[in-house]
Structures are given as C-alpha cells and as structure tokens.
C-alpha cells in the first residue's frame, strides 16, 4: 500500500487501462485452431499401411496397459484376425463400471466379457506348477493348457502371462505360431451346442423365422 490512500487503486486502474489497448490473448476458435503438440496423445487411432492393411500386431499390450480398460480386442478384420476395438467416449464409463465389477470377483453380465470369465484356473495352476512357472517352457505349458481346456482361452493366456511374467504378446505370438494350438473351441458343432445351451429360445426363433420367410417369394426356406 502506498502512502497516499487510494493511490494503489489508481495504479491498478492505470494497469487495466494499459491492458485495454494491449493485444488480446483470445484464440478465435472456429477460424483459428489451436495447434496440437506433436506429442499429443488424446485419441486412439489405428494406422493402416500403404497397402491398406492394419498395422496393429494384436499384441494386446494396449489393452493390458489401459487403466480404465476402455480398449479391448474384438471384432475381426478382413483377414480374420482380431483388431483393436474401442467404443465412443460415452461408453468408457460403462467399461469402467464393468471393469470394477469384474475386479470385484463377480461375473459380468455383459456378453462381451464372457470369454474372459468363467474359466476354472485350478487345472491351469496345476499345469503351471508342474512346469515351475518357468516362461522358458512356454510351448509345453500351452500344449498342456490346450489339452486341459480343449483350446486356449484368453483368460488362460492372461493368467499364464501374469504368473510367469512373460509378456502377453510373447505368449500370443508363440501360440499363434504353432498350427496345432487354437484359440477357439475345437469344432463348430460343439460351439453351436454351447450356443444353444446358452440361449434355448434360439431354436424357436429360427423356426419362426423360417416359417415367416417360407411364404415370401424368393425365400429359400
């Protein structure tokens, strides 16, 4: 505070008057867009190479690292491989709730996650125990796992990764290299049976659908 009462206020007002004429800091948005820093990492994007194929190697590292699990491997590309799938931002919240639910140890009602769940890992633990949790014996572990479960469930791979310390990408690479290892249940028939068991109303629905299609010209039912 200055000696003369009110002089400080006058100085402040002089400052604001000077700022009145100074250049302004506003970025006029629709005309001028703020530049995005080169390191900006605000949005997930899958890149394609010059032949139009996906550059993603489906190593699952992004899905594993994502803290709120909004990234998921799902869907199929044209070559029948997995590719990264992510929802619009609004679904992150739902993903987050699902994530919390799953971490609490309870089954998640969302069918997108059923293949991660419901796996009895006691057999897998036995296998891992017999191989001494050694990532060097990955191929025998995977073969034994397939022998135990019929195929290699994603949850099993994740568990192997967590217990042995090997990267998921390594395990996935090993598993996908050998033709005798498979990621789906062995036969279509069994899969269909499982589907039917899960949704018993399907048969009725298909029958009804066939009946409704039968009456239409061009219908092949």
């Amino acid at each position: 505070m200055s000696l003369i009462p009110g002089f400080g206020m006058v100085r402040g007002m002089a400052l604001t008057l000077r700022r009145f004429f100074e250049p302004k800091a506003t970025i006029r948005y629709p005309e001028v867009k703020a530049d995005i820093p080169p390191k900006f990492r605000g949005r997930l994007q899958l890149l394609y190479d010059e032949y139009g194929t996906l550059k993603c190697e489906t190593c699952f590292q992004c899905a594993q690292a994502c803290p709120i699990e909004c990234i998921d491997m799902g869907g199929m590309d044209t070559k029948g491989r997995f590719h990264v799938h992510w929802g619009p931002p609004e679904t992150y919240g739902e993903r987050r709730e699902e994530s919390a639910l799953r971490r609490s140890g309870r089954p998640v009602p969302d069918p997108a996650y059923t293949h991660f769940e419901g796996l009895d890992i006691r057999a897998l633990d036995g296998i891992l125990e017999s191989f001494d949790h050694d990532p060097a014996h990955m191929l025998p572990i995977l073969e034994a796992t397939q022998a135990a479960y019929g195929y290699l469930p994603v949850a099993a791979l994740k568990h192997i990764s967590q217990v042995t310390g090997a990267w998921y990408a390594t395990i996935y690479g090993t598993a996908s290299f050998y033709g005798h290892l498979r990621f789906e249940p062995p036969s279509q028939a069994e899969q269909a049976a499982a589907m039917a068991a899960r949704r018993p109303a399907d048969a009725d629905f298909m029958a009804g659908l066939g009946a409704s299609l039968a009456g239409r010209p061009g219908g092949d039912a």
């Binding site: 505070m1 200055s2 009462p5 009110g6 002089f7 400080g8 206020m9 100085r11 402040g12 400052l15 604001t16 700022r19 800091a25 820093p37 080169p38 390191k39 900006f40 990492r41 605000g42 690292a65 803290p67 919390a100 971490r103 967590q162 310390g165 990267w167």
Partner: protein
Amino acid sequence: MTAPSRTGPQPSADDPRVMLDRDIGVFEPVPPYPPRTEREAEFYTLGDGQMLLNMGPQHPSTHGVLRVVLKLDGEKVVDLDPVLGYLHRGVEKLCENADYHQVISQVDPLEYISSLFCEWSPVIAFEKLLDVDVPRRAEYIRVLSGELNRIASHALFMGWFALDLGGLTPILWSFIERDEIVEMLAALTGQRMLFNYFRIGGVNGDLNHEFMSRLGDWMSRATKQIESNLTLLNQNEIFVRRARGLGVIDTAGALRMCMTGPNLRATGVPFDVRRAHPYSVYPELDFDVPTRTEGDSLARYLLRMEEIKQSIRIIDQCLHQMPDGPIMAKLPRLLRPRPGRAYAAIEGPRGQYSTYAISDGTDQPFRMRIHDPSFIHLQSVGVLMQNNLIADTMAIMASLDPVMGGVDK
C-alpha cells in the same frame, strides 16, 4: 403428509423427501436423520436468531463441488460444516486394482490444477518399494516440469483468490499465465491437464525442441509479466484491507491442524519437504524457503507469489545443470516389488502430498494411501472462520487453495 419417520431405514441427505416436503416448502439443510455424533448435534442445534445457509455444491465460489452448511447469525458465520463426497471416486480402491504403471494415470486427476505432483509421490513410493535408482537427467526433468506446474498452480491461485474477493480481471490474466505454461507442458508431456508424464524409474519423454523454445521464450519475460500482474492486487487498498487479518492462525494452531505447505509457512514455520526431508535433486539446487509470520490470508497470498519467484530460480538452475544421460531406469514391463511398505512425501503447491504404499509381492499395490493437502486444509476452514462474515468464507477458503478433486479423492 406425515412428518419423516425417525425410525426404520434412514434416508440419505440426497433424499428427495427433504425437497418435496410441502409443509416446509423450502430446502432446509438439516439432515433427515437424528444426529450421529456430538459435533453434528451441536452444529444442527440452532441458537437464538441463528439460521442455516446451504452453500453449494453448485455455488459459484466453492472451488468445485463442495457443499458447506453455514450457521449464521445475521451475516456472521458462527460455525460451518463442510459436506464432502460429491467428487469421490474411490481412487485408493482403483489403485489397489490397477498395476503399478496404471496407478499413475489413476492418481493424475486428483489435483487437476497440478497433476504432476499427484504423480510424483506415488512414483517415488514405488521406486522405494522396487529399490530403483532414477537417472539424474530424469530427476532434473521432473524438478523442472514440477516447478513449472507449481508456477501454473500459484498463478491460478492469484486469480481465484481475487475472484472470490470480487475482482473480475485477475482470473483471466492468471489463466493467460497458466496457459503459457500448460502449452509448454503439453509440448513436453503431450497433454494439457492430466499429464501422465512421470514413470516409475524416470519420465515418459525427453526434453524436446518445442518445449525448450517455449520455455526460453517464457523465461525471458516471466518475472516481469508476473510482477506487472501483481501490481493490480498487491497495492490495492481494498484488496489488502480485506485480506489482512483474515483467517489468522498461529504456528501452534497450524501444526495442530496438520497444515503444511504455504499455509503453514505463512505462520512462520519454514517447513518445506524439499528442504526438511529432501527428495529428488533438490539438495543440489539453491533456493530459499520464504516464510511470513502473520498467518493471515494476505500472508498466504504473498507467500505463494514469492514462491513463484523461487520456482523460476529453480527452473533456471535446472536448465543450467541439466545432465545428459538416460531418462528411464531399466525396468521390466510388469513390476512385482518385494513385499514391503514405503512412504514418500513431496512438496506440492498446496502442501505435502504423500503416498503410503504397501506391496504384497503381486503386480498390484496391496494398499495405497494418498494423503492430499487440500483435504487437510479444508478442514481448518472451520477453525479459521471464527466470527467472520459470509464474504470472508469464500476468501478464507480461497486463501487455503483447496482443489476439490484432491479433497474428495
């Protein structure tokens, strides 16, 4: 309709019944259940001529979604009861379910004004658990970016404090200050607000050209610009008369209230974790710990402005002493520290942030406790608010500089 039943399942304070009670017709901030503690009973018992005033959670100057119930005698605030939890997201539980790397992005939004400090203390705690040595260049980069973030936070504090005292202009000037720093940090870290930059064992990226050019540009005029902004308030009679002698607390009281940071230093205690319990490369840097003895809002304000200057000094030294070398320690992708406990505290712009982490040998923390200075300082509002007016509630709260993201965790 009948009066709310006092037995049976007790409704929550958010219960629509309180608002739908046509007999009252107005929302009274009295909880619809019998008082549970001594303090609650005392607070919600009104004396002669007293009334309750519900402030928030949407009040414009509660710095986020804080609800404060004021007990008034005229314009005089007799007592107040902050109600928290509107921003609570259970970050400690989230951290217990995330692996060590993921924790960093979980704690980032705690104090969204100064995110780097929220990352810093968990990172140090995990490094202690893992016995990792951080490369010196990474430490210097951490200090450099951290001090920049401290300036950004303090600059914004000036604006908020003036806004709560009724000044319109400083908040925009301080946002301009902050924006320059935030742009700089965006060039360094890739994000403007939730930087997610520190990593266990180092930092995410090295210094780059854009960051350095922006920083050099800013350093050449920072001091002058901040001084110029400060003339608006520091010499203003209205501002000084309002802030002086407002919310006074003495040293013993501040220690009793567990205050840290600028709020404690304003009472005369030179406690700064950077000096009192050094971490990172702060022992190698030359800076002062400013203190003041008044313990009022003006002292807290002036102290923060003084700290901006010290931070500029530190940044200058960091730029001159920046060593070459790696910015990350060699660490496996999946971290499994030995079972143990670690505690790490750092000096943030609001005070001491600390993390207490317990490892049980798995890749996720067994328990992760985050101690946030805003939380501690907010509870001392009730102590500072002895027979002040409503207008001072905001000013005192602003002078403590709480961020509700950190308070509610």
